[in-house]
């Protein structure tokens, strides 16, 4: 294997793959990056066994071949190289030489056979989705996944693909985020996929918004690919809990508030809220929202905010940090809350959002004690 590549292309390729390399691993080869020659140049790949990322960059290939080398060292070297073409050549199965200007490196690696094979996914039957649309769903929902180990299903984001619509849902059982977007009918059949958020994070990071992605499903893996880059991920086995049943349809108390004003009031209250529960009390009356918080050993605080409210007077408790978090993702200046009762789910939606997407978050209340 022997090729010449520009310093920038090498850095670009390494940056794309580096994030998938595990920081700590018991399998030494996983700390390495796989370098293979291809038709257009070279292909760089990395994996932590849950996710694999592979990307192709232009290079002048003299002789074909493949080898793995420590990702971290190679990235560090690439970062420090002078602005000259980089010549990389394998000498034997376990070593490369790297020359750039007057710099010369020999780096020990591992044979390519030791690198795990990527899941086999046939892209012949695939969905085609604009990456910007996918990224929009990811960034509005994946924050809500659970990190609890005992319910692994909730550790993933539910991605429902229908012929004309796609939807993402994430929840930790306390709060939920859901966004859906109409899509053009595509060839592949409908599917419910539960995807680890780590993989979605890579999707968000790696693909330009206007690129069309091919997405296909293997046995229990999912593959995303663009002309140059591919991401593979393990899928979490379902079924996902029936989230639709818990989204309230009959909430009859509605409040519309200014997002910025509400956010700052919540932040003020949070100073006094308990570090563990962040519990605050919201009292809705016509035209007025009153905040109050009491924390033993710390103190108490109240605040008020004018808003539009219809419905009977309501006192309800929440984890303020859940509310603050949801508000951060709301894309409009005003937000709409709906409630039924102090022990029932509340919904939060953007108010007056001129968009093809629909977005809804849901928060479960905290018990209030009088």
């Amino acid at each position: 294997m022997r090729f010449t590549i520009s310093r920038e292309k090498l850095q670009e390729g390494l940056a794309a793959v580096a994030a998938s390399i595990p920081a700590k691993t018991t399998l030494p080869v996983l700390a390495n990056i796989l370098i293979e020659t291809s038709d257009k140049g070279i292909r760089l790949s990395g994996t932590d066994l849950d996710i694999a990322v592979s990307t192709e960059v232009a290079a002048d290939v003299e002789t074909v071949g493949a080898i793995t080398v420590p990702a971290k060292k190679l990235s560090e070297i690439a970062r420090e190289l002078p602005p000259s073409p980089v010549k990389i050549a394998a000498s034997g199965e376990q070593r490369i030489t790297l020359d750039c200007g007057r710099s010369h490196f020999k780096i020990l690696g591992l044979p390519r056979d030791e690198f795990p094979a990527f899941p086999s996914i046939r892209f012949s039957e695939s969905w085609r989705i604009r990456s910007g649309d996918l990224q929009k769903l990811i960034s509005h929902t994946s924050f809500a996944v659970s990190t609890e180990e005992s319910r692994p299903i909730l550790n993933g984001v539910l991605w429902e693909l229908k012929p004309d619509v796609m939807r993402m849902v994430a929840t930790n059982g306390h709060r939920l985020a859901k966004m859906e977007l109409p899509i053009k009918a595509t060839g592949a059949p409908s599917a419910d996929l539960i995807v680890p958020p780590k993989a979605l994070e890579q999707i968000r990071r790696l693909f330009p918004a206007d690129e069309e992605l091919e997405i296909a499903r293997g046995e229990n893996h999912l593959g995303f690919r663009s002309p140059f880059t591919a991401v593979y991920t393990r899928l979490i086995e379902g079924p996902y809990p029936p989230y639709d049943q818990v989204i309230p349809k009959d909430n009859d108390r509605v409040a519309i508030a200014d997002k910025v004003a509400l956010t700052s009031a919540l932040k003020r209250m949070s100073v006094i809220a308990s570090d563990q529960t962040h519990r605050i009390r919201l009292s809705f009356n016509s035209g007025m929202l009153r905040f109050s918080v009491q924390t033993p050993d710390l103190g108490e605080a109240t605040d008020e905010l004018a808003l539009r409210y219809t419905g009977d007077q309501l006192d309800i408790g929440f984890n303020a940090s859940y509310l603050l978090e949801i508000l951060r993702y709301m894309p409009t200046d005003e937000v709409r809350f709906t409630f039924k009762a102090p022990e029932r789910a509340a919904t939060v939606q953007p108010e007056g959002w001129n968009d093809s997407a629909t977005y809804l978050c849901l928060v479960m209340p905290l018990r209030l004690v009088d």
């Binding site: 990224q135 929009k136 960034s139 509005h140 994946s142 924050f143 990190t147 609890e148 180990e149 005992s150 319910r151 929840t171 059982g173 306390h174 709060r175 939920l176 809990p241 989230y243 818990v246 997002k259 910025v260 949070s270 100073v271 308990s274 570090d275 563990q276 529960t277 962040h278 519990r279 033993p296 710390l298 408790g317 984890n319 940090s321 859940y322 603050l324 978090e325 951060r328 993702y329 709301m330 894309p331 409009t332 200046d333 022990e343 029932r344 789910a345 953007p350 959002w353 001129n354 968009d355 997407a357 849901l362 479960m364 209340p365 905290l366 018990r367 004690v369």
Partner: protein
């Protein structure tokens, strides 16, 4: 039937003597207290045959003139009070004028005394009557010898126990006195063998070391607290050491050695949740209360006192001991201990008001949601991307505002948190420490009767064994107080709609399942014990485990919360949460000393 007759005064004295002088040990105590009342700086006590043959107490106190030495043997002759009013707040040990006549009535007594170096008096008496008075030359001070105690009272003599047993009582009485008056030099011999010689000591700890060795002193923590008008000081055994050597207790109230099970029990209550059942700590406590709130004249041997408000005194003692156990010094140690008492975490006084913004910066354990502090405003343009979910940075500057100074922390084996301290290296067991933090929090919730509880979108379903079902029924209301709200309990299936949120890693389902499994088969306990048992079990199940990797922020949050607990050095099973290795111990091991 015999005719009625007034007892001769000698017989009456003998009977009364039985109350004051029950056995050699009480005679020793009376004579030594007289010496102390006389302002002695050094007292020598010699005892033979457990005190049955001879008790001799020599002091360097003020001594007596001849008249006084004779008068001292009369009943109710005392130099210490003049009227009943003087009894209130009496400072001297003696005040009845009973001890010497009582001892004299049942022994061969010799008093040698001189009010100044040189000319002195020797008074000889037996069975209560003076037999001879002579001049002697001696140093200032008094020597009282009581020989053949109870020689003329066979009924009393019958009740005396063997030499060893009587000697043990004498030693015990003298130990109490020596602990009480560490400012005085004492020496005690039995049949010519030295039991102890104690130099005047600066602190109670020094006196303990002189009595029982430095090791014994090391096992004790300083107690020092003022609650209102009540001052509690002394030494309390470090929980990790309790049960490893014989238990010793000592209590003084306003400078008087007393027995008071109520106060000792209150002190022991402070150890609750730090000791395995059945173990009792050593306690050496001095309590000072306003003179008018205690009556010392209720017991013939003055061994008990009566408090006007006992509850207040007991709470003050409990609080003082708990405070001592709450210090860093209370933790277990490897080898030489040089910890400066109270060190390691600095806390502001209770009256200092503090906001605690610091924990806002902590991720993980003590803050459920990551990222919300990182406020990047974004415009509400359709299709706009929200900001990257940023992880909260640990901003060093916020530590300035913290009321606990957190040193750099290192996690070892995903089990221990290690840090360096002025006095040495400290290891914290992350599970035990978190358990302690949660236990105190849960106890607080059970006592206040409220806890935040998070409603769940999808109720948890738990399938229970019959024993677990029973455990659930027994603890149902307590669990609800902690935040586990259950709707519909159908024999073997629980539907849980709300759960507590003690920390972000908390796994409610696993915690509840394991708690019920542990409580299953518990025999019915008293209501209070059930509180503690439940809080301890839930805390154990809810705490981070050994093997959980903790972020810096989580370790710091744990450190701060632990410092804020009442008993940071002990988990709820009586094990240590903290182990220290002092620099001197390390130096010793590396041969640097």
């Amino acid at each position: 039937m015999a005719r009625i007759a007034v007892l001769s005064s000698a017989v009456a004295d003998q009977i009364a003597a039985g109350e004051v002088v029950e056995r050699p040990a009480s005679a020793v105590k009376e004579l030594v207290e007289n010496a102390l009342d006389a302002g002695a700086q050094a007292i020598e006590i010699a005892v033979e045959d457990g005190g049955r043959q001879l008790i001799r107490v020599s002091d360097d106190g003020c001594g007596m003139e001849r008249d006084d030495a004779l008068l001292a043997l009369e009943r109710h002759a005392t130099s210490k009070i003049r009227s009943a009013a003087d009894l209130v707040g009496v400072r001297s040990f003696g005040f009845r004028g009973e001890a010497l006549p009582a001892i004299c009535s049942v022994s061969h007594l010799v008093i040698e005394s001189a009010a100044a170096d040189g000319a002195g008096t020797a008074v000889y008496a037996a069975g209560g009557s003076v037999t001879d008075v002579r001049d002697v030359a001696r140093r200032r001070g008094t020597t009282v010898s009581a020989a053949r105690l109870f020689y003329n009272a066979p009924a009393r003599q019958k009740f005396l126990r063997g030499t060893r047993s009587e000697w043990r009582s004498v030693l015990e009485a003298m130990t109490s006195i020596a602990l009480n008056r560490r400012d005085v030099r004492f020496s005690l011999t039995h049949d010519g063998k030295v039991a102890f010689t104690l130099p005047a000591a600066r602190t109670l700890r020094d006196r303990v070391a002189a009595l029982w060795g430095a090791g014994a002193a090391d096992r004790l923590l300083d107690v020092e607290d003022v609650r209102g008008a009540i001052h509690v000081s002394g030494l309390a055994e470090r929980p990790s050491d309790v049960g490893t050597a014989s238990r010793r207790t000592f209590l003084s109230v306003n400078g008087r050695v007393v027995r008071d099970t109520g106060i000792i029990r209150a002190a022991e209550a402070a150890y609750r949740s730090t000791l395995t059942a059945g173990l009792r700590p050593s306690l050496l406590l001095n309590v000072i209360v306003p003179a008018e709130s205690v009556d010392v004249n209720v017991h013939p041997a003055k061994a008990e006192v009566r408090f006007r408000d006992r509850w207040i005194v007991e709470r003050a003692v409990e609080d003082a001991v708990r405070r001592a156990l709450g210090t860093f010094d209370a933790s277990a140690s490897l080898g030489v201990r040089t910890w400066s008492p109270g060190g390691a975490w600095t806390r502001p006084g209770a009256d200092v008001e503090l906001l605690r913004p610091a924990s806002r910066e902590m991720d993980g354990l003590f803050q459920p949601v990551s990222g919300e502090e990182d406020d990047v405003p974004f415009a509400a343009r359709p299709g706009d991307m929200p900001p990257e979910p940023a992880f909260p940075a640990l901003v060093a500057a916020t530590e300035v505002a913290m009321d606990v100074i957190v040193p750099p922390l290192l996690q070892l084996r995903r089990t221990y948190i290690m840090f360096e301290h002025d006095d040495g290296v400290v290891l914290i067991d992350q599970h035990s420490a978190h358990e302690r933090v949660l236990y105190e929090r849960f106890m607080g919730m059970l006592e206040r009767g409220e806890a935040p509880s998070q409603r769940l979108l999808f109720p948890l379903t738990l399938h229970l064994t019959p024993a677990e079902g029973e455990a659930f029924e027994a603890n149902r209301t307590l669990l609800a107080t902690l935040g586990f709200e259950v709707e519909g309990f159908g024999g073997s299936t629980l539907l849980v709609h709300s759960v507590p949120m003690p920390h972000p890693r908390f796994d409610a389902e696993r915690c509840l399942r394991e708690t019920l499994a542990t409580l299953a088969g518990d025999r019915d306990a008293a209501a209070h014990a059930r509180h503690e048992r439940l809080a301890a079990t839930v805390a154990c199940k809810a705490a981070v485990k050994a093997g959980d990797e903790l972020s810096q922020g989580e370790m710091r949050a744990l450190f701060v919360s632990l410092a804020e607990t009442r008993l940071p050095a002990h988990d709820v099973h009586g094990r240590s949460t903290i182990v220290q290795l002092s620099w001197p111990e390390l130096e010793r091991r590396f041969g640097r000393q």
